[in-house]
Every structure is written in structure tokens, then in C-alpha cells.
């Protein structure tokens, strides 16, 4: 019997997700033994045309990480969707946009201006911007088109499962892969479509060892502004911790390292919009009644939008800004 085929792809992301796959340590050998890895640009040399040549639905499992930033990302998403039986949005970028999607708060023009003109290390007196098509004497040179907005994978193609995290915890990755192997080997039924794999149903607080009190916040602090008590809930201390509005599964890694949860595991099961839910929760525990005082406290939250939507901007209720 032929081995099940495995594909991994890296779209608009930092690459951490690919590293997270390798982080499963010796289990990677099981993966290599069980699967026939047909596409993994980061690790092995395949060409897009190899994938294009495959028959539809010939890839058993595709772990797709990275968001959809440009035409290349989108093209590959569509291609891999067509060729794969099971397409998994792997990691926060593919799941809900992650850090790249924060670019949705601005415009393509503004990003280009920053990157190609304004950054101090840039010297571009002719104001040359990347062009999708450049004519040279050998013919046309094409580079991917930079999209206006960043999208999550499921905003471009149909996604079967999600594995959240930035990057997904390698223990969770290992567990998922083990489960997949188990399913394939023993012919077990697949979980329902849309299931979030490798994560819990509660929030980060469930895994957080800190002691929590009733919350009333008079001032919010950034990390460098306060000496953090390692045993006490960070939110109680006035640090914006996304833990309460973030799905469990990571084992509360960040908070155990005395750093607030940033929310990479995405919204908990019943929450549609992680950012707005966090906003509602945070503003509820502000300890002030007078508008001026409220504003004063709110102003101690640095960049609320970016903080609350750090990972879930592509999935925010208001998907695209700039109107």
C-alpha cells in the first residue's frame, strides 16, 4: 500500500510554524516513516509544477501555514486545496491572520511607502516600487501581486481543520500528528469539519497557575512600567493579558514566563470576535465612573486595537478597515 501523502506549505508567515513541526523532535521520524512527504518547500526541493502535476485529492494531508498576503499565497492555497483531501490551517496566520493581518489597519500604499521610501535604511531616490510585471528583453518578469488586505486561509479556500498558535505548541503538533496517524492506520472517523485541533475548549486562564482576585483596574501598565508579581493574575496587576479571551492549549507558556498572554490561540469556542470580547471584558473592569477618568485609564492601554486583535485581525467583525 502506498504511503499517505503529506504536504506542508509556508505562505505569509515568519516560518516559525515550520520550525514547530520540526520541534516535535524524534517524532518527525515517525512522520517521515508513515507519510510520503510530497511538498515542503522549506525542507525539501519541490517545484510548484510538481504539485500542479499531481492528480486532484492525491495529497492526504496538507498543513498550510501563513496568511494570504499576495497572489502567490492565494494561488498556492487554491492549488493545495484542490490537491488535498484534508487541508489544515496550521498556526495563527493561516487560521486568523496573525501579525501580518495587523497590516489591515492600514493600506497597501502606506505599507509600500513605509517599506520602500520611509524606512531609514532605504535609499530609493527614484521612488521605485515593485511591479507585478516588469518587461526585460528576455521577456516579462513577474512577481506576486501584493494584495490590499491580508486574509486568513479560510477566507480564500475551504478549510477542514485548524491548529492554532503562534506557533502551535510542538507537543500539540505531535499529538495531532499522532492522532492523524492513528486515524489513517485504524480507519477511525475524522472529527467534524472545522474542528480546532491541538487546543482546549477553555481559556488560557484554565492553564494559568496565577491566583486571581476580583478585578478592578485603576491603571494599565506596560511590561517595563511595573515589577510583576509572578504569583498574581497579570490582569489584576493592571497588565493587559489576553488570557481570558484566548483558547487554552498552549499550557499558559507566556504567563508562566511572567509575560502576558498575547492571544495567539485565538478566540475561545463561543466567541466570534476575540478583540471585541477582550475590549468588553477589559472596559468592564475599569474602576472609574467619570468620563474623564475613564479616558485617562483607557489611555494607559497602549494600542488597544493592535493589542486585542494582535492575532485575529483577519477574523475581526470589521474585516477590512480604511473607509
Amino acid at each position: 500500500m502506498a504511503k499517505p501523502k503529506l504536504a506542508l506549505y509556508w505562505a505569509a508567515s515568519c516560518g516559525g510554524c515550520d520550525v514547530a513541526v520540526l520541534d516535535i523532535e524524534v517524532k518527525i521520524l515517525d512522520v517521515a516513516a508513515f507519510f510520503d512527504i510530497v511538498f515542503w518547500p522549506c525542507a525539501t526541493d519541490f517545484k510548484y509544477k510538481d504539485v500542479e502535476a499531481m492528480p486532484d485529492k492525491s495529497i492526504t494531508l496538507c498543513l498550510f501555514n501563513g496568511s494570504i498576503r499576495n497572489s502567490e499565497n492565494e494561488k498556492l492555497a487554491k492549488l493545495l486545496r484542490a490537491k488535498s483531501v484534508v487541508l489544515v490551517a496550521f498556526g495563527s496566520c493561516a487560521q486568523e491572520g496573525c501579525i501580518p493581518a495587523l497590516a489591515n489597519l492600514t493600506t497597501k500604499e502606506a505599507i509600500f511607502k513605509t517599506v520602500y521610501l520611509d524606512t531609514p535604511s532605504t535609499h530609493n531616490p527614484d521612488k521605485i516600487f515593485p511591479q507585478p510585471v516588469t518587461k526585460v528583453k528576455e521577456g516579462d518578469l513577474e512577481i506576486p501581486v501584493f494584495w490590499e488586505k491580508v486574509k486568513s486561509l479560510d477566507q480564500v479556500v475551504d478549510v477542514d481543520y485548524y491548529i492554532p498558535g503562534c506557533p502551535p505548541q510542538s507537543t500539540q503538533v505531535a499529538a495531532v500528528i499522532e492522532a492523524v496517524i492513528d486515524i489513517l492506520k485504524n480507519g477511525k472517523p475524522l472529527p467534524p469539519k472545522g474542528t480546532i485541533l491541538g487546543a482546549g475548549d477553555k481559556t488560557c486562564c484554565d492553564e494559568c497557575p496565577r491566583t486571581r482576585k476580583e478585578k478592578k483596574v485603576k491603571q494599565f501598565y506596560r511590561l517595563h512600567e511595573i515589577l510583576i508579581n509572578p504569583d498574581e493574575c497579570l490582569l489584576d496587576q493592571g497588565i493587559v493579558c489576553m488570557g481570558p479571551a484566548t483558547r487554552s492549549g498552549c499550557g499558559a507558556l507566556c504567563v508562566k514566563a511572567n509575560v502576558p498572554c498575547r492571544g495567539c490561540y485565538g478566540a475561545p469556542p463561543n466567541v466570534h470576535d476575540q478583540g471585541l470580547k477582550m475590549l468588553s471584558a477589559i472596559s468592564s473592569v475599569i474602576d472609574a465612573q467619570e468620563p474623564d477618568e475613564i479616558d485617562k485609564i483607557i489611555n494607559t492601554i497602549a494600542d488597544p486595537t493592535g493589542t486585542f486583535y494582535r492575532f485575529s485581525m483577519a477574523h475581526s467583525t470589521l474585516k477590512i478597515a480604511d473607509l
Partner: protein, 149 residues
Amino acid sequence: MAFEPRIVAFFCNWCTYTGADLAGVSRLKSPANIRIIRTMCSGRVDPSFIMKAFELGADGVLIGGCHPGDCHYAEGNYKALRRVHLLKKMMRSFGIDEKRLRLEWISASEGDVYQHVATEFTQTIRSLGPLNWKQHVDQKSSSEQAVVV
């Protein structure tokens, strides 16, 4: 056809909803643009509802609660106040004019205040023009789609 704003209002059961009712009973004419959702308390209004309203095509959102100190539930209205303050800040970064969201204290007896606020807010939204969030999103997505193919 002239632009008629679509305004979603979240009114608390005890004060503003009753106040709006009073405006009706008192035959005070107020704009039909306001589409009211009753909640028990303005503190029930989740920012998600507000943003969902914008997403679904509302041009403005009005929240009505009891006057400070008068809340039927002691201080639910203060929670609404704090959420609205933070949400407005977020709306700015999303590029939505914060004037499209308004929080007003209208008591059960202030039918005239309701009339005034409703009229004024409708006028504000009318002058701001349509938000058309959904169409914008769809349009942008489809225009990009065309490039890919």
C-alpha cells in the same frame, strides 16, 4: 433617492426603551430610521453587537441607558459608558467615524429627550453619509479576485 440612514439602537428596558415608548405615546414625532433592540440594561450591550450592526449595514448605532445613578441595576450604565469609550478609540483605528456611535442617558420620563436625540443623531448620520461596510468589504474582495484569475 435621498440617503436614509439605518440606525440600530440598543435601549435599556427601564429607562430609554420606556422613554422612547413615552415619546410615541405622547405623539412626539421621531425619525423612523431608528431600529430598536431592547436589552434589560445598557450594560448588556456587547461591543460585538455594535460592530456586528455596522458589519450588517447599520450606518449608526445609538445606545440608550439610564442616567448615572439611576440604573435599575445599580451601575450597568457605567459599564456601557466604559465600553463605548474604549470602543470609540478602537473605531478610530478601524477608520470608522466615532460619531457613528453614540451613548445617551435617557430616562423613562424623557420622551422629549428621546425625540431630540433620535432626530439629532439621524441628522448626524445623514450628514456623515452611508457607511456601507458590507458592500465595501465585498467589493474589495471581488476586485482582488478578478486579478487572481
